[in-house]
């Protein structure tokens, strides 16, 4: 039947039928329209928006990339209820400085990125170091769909259905040594395919880091896909991090190296502007960026468009119940 024949751009051996493929397309699309109408008409109709969210998760992708469905995650906090950001906005408004500093640049320039073959090197204080192929990583644990809020340090946010599994699954497999206190992530810096790596905007390659307990937190996601498909290049293909309670730049894209270390690793933005971007970078409405308040945020594509009111930013981006204890006793104004 025709609705089975979606183009699979880069099929990588992880194609499974989605429920949207079993339901005839016309049927689920009309259902989606109906749900959108319901959600739009009756403000606060929680049921409608919840159901609408499911329909969105299946239907907003471009159907161009290889499918990567994930089972609904049961990790607490992994199923945010807000309306999803449109796939088009989430894939055309990106910070990925290797491809340009304008938010429209990555979608224009990231087509050159080659995501196969791809290996992630695990090294440092770890019992099983080595190079892990992307195919092996994809199969390492069951893929889950998680709907996270993403809050950018610039004061905007999105709601994105990611596909991946807890970074903890990988960490457990490679067995870090007892003295490993931090995890450092190094991302690709290939001047041939990444036109901006020649610029001096950042000290390439882009590096990020987490404390071991943050890295092991079940919400910390090693993501391979979004909206039921593999990651588009501009969103950090083929594998990235998503740390939903921290500002977006902590979620390193296109990772090539994961290093277990004893000392707090220096991170790209901290090196560039230490007074503005600390190591922790937890979303915190009470700690302003030196040039703007972090008390509110603009939700991209929440339907209100230009005249939508800004949302109040929540402590730890709304994940306080899940991650608050990681920072008990810490002065978050000092450790920003």
């Amino acid at each position: 039947m025709s609705f089975h024949s979606r183009p699979h751009g880069r099929s990588s051996g992880f194609i499974h039928p989605l429920s949207s493929e079993i339901t005839p397309r016309a049927v689920y699309e009309s259902r989606r329209d109906l749900l959108k109408l319901m959600a739009g008409g009756a403000a606060g109709a929680a049921l409608a928006s919840f159901a609408g969210r499911e329909a969105f998760a299946q239907a907003t992708g471009p159907h161009k990339l290889a499918l990567l469905p994930g089972a609904k995650s049961v990790v607490p906090g992994a199923q945010t209820m807000e309306k999803l950001t449109d796939y088009k906005d989430a894939t055309s408004y990106n910070n990925f400085y290797e491809f340009g500093t304008d938010k429209g640049d990555p979608v224009k320039n990231a087509g050159t990125l080659k995501t196969r073959p791809w290996t992630v090197e695990v090294e440092g204080l770890v019992k099983k170091p080595g190079k892990y192929g992307i195919e092996d990583l994809l199969k390492l644990s069951a893929q889950e769909e998680r709907i996270y809020r993403l809050r950018c340090v610039e004061g905007w946010s999105m709601v994105i259905p990611w596909v991946g599994y807890s970074l903890a699954e990988l960490i457990k497999k490679v067995e870090p040594q007892g003295n490993a206190k931090y995890v450092e992530f190094v991302t690709l810096a290939d001047p041939k395919t990444m036109p901006f790596v020649g610029s001096r905007v950042l000290d390439w390659p882009y590096t990020e880091g987490l404390r071991m307990d943050e890295a092991m937190h079940p919400l910390t996601l090693l993501a391979f896909g979004m909206y039921g498909e593999v990651l588009p290049n501009q969103n950090g293909a083929p594998v990235r991090l998503v740390v939903p309670w921290k500002y977006g730049f902590k979620s390193a894209k296109s990772i090539v190296k994961i290093r277990f270390v004893e000392k707090e690793p220096s991170t790209a933005w901290n090196k560039a502007a230490a007074q503005e971007y600390g190591f922790y970078s937890n979303v915190n409405p009470n700690v302003d960026h030196p040039r703007w308040s972090q008390a509110t945020e603009r939700r991209i594509g929440d339907g209100g468009g230009l005249f939508a009111k800004r949302n109040k930013t929540l402590m730890f981006n709304g994940y306080e119940a899940q991650v608050g204890q990681l920072y008990a006793g810490m002065d978050l104004k000092k450790n920003y």
Partner: protein, 220 residues
Amino acid sequence: MNKLLVHPAAKPVVFLLCLLPFAWLTYGAFTDGLGANPAEFLIRATGDWTLRFICIVLAVTPLRVMTKANALARFRRMLGLFAYFYVVVHLLCYSWFDMGFEWSDIAKDIAKRPFILVGFSAFVLLTPLAATSFNRAIKALGAKRWQMLHKLVYLIAGLGLLHFFWMRAGKNNFAEVFVYAAIVAVLLGWRVWHYASKRKPKETAGVRGGSEKSLRSSAG
């Protein structure tokens, strides 16, 4: 050139050209054409256009002298007022889309953040220039004092550049800032050079004697 510039249609045509960015932004705002974050796009685009109009208005005199197209001077006031128009729209967009017209928040933001304060100061300083742009104001002030007042534009350009520089500072993304700074520096540098070469007519009299007179008569 001069003929074209004094054509009765010239001013309306330039006026409409100056309105084009505004028309394009308004159209984009109502047709979902400003990308994922239309508010941010509007705030940045109107800031860009303010800086561009400041550069354009500063370029009028050098261009006029170099091309001897003296009729260019007819457009300087309008271009200056468009710089003011775009900074007002810029400020409105910030007050509306970023601050939701919460005046106390806006006041706090201006007081707390140097980069906002600098931008706001540039707007405040530009206001008397816009307010004294009609002929009666020039008469009332006297040409000399009026000219002194309007020399503030250099300070305003500097503050505008600093505002832009600071806004980009955290992200180390200065390419565009440097382009505008270079344009302003060249236009300012030309004035310094021009003024200096006028003040030493004797040293260069042999070479420049002829053009010296016309330069002086058209200086403004």
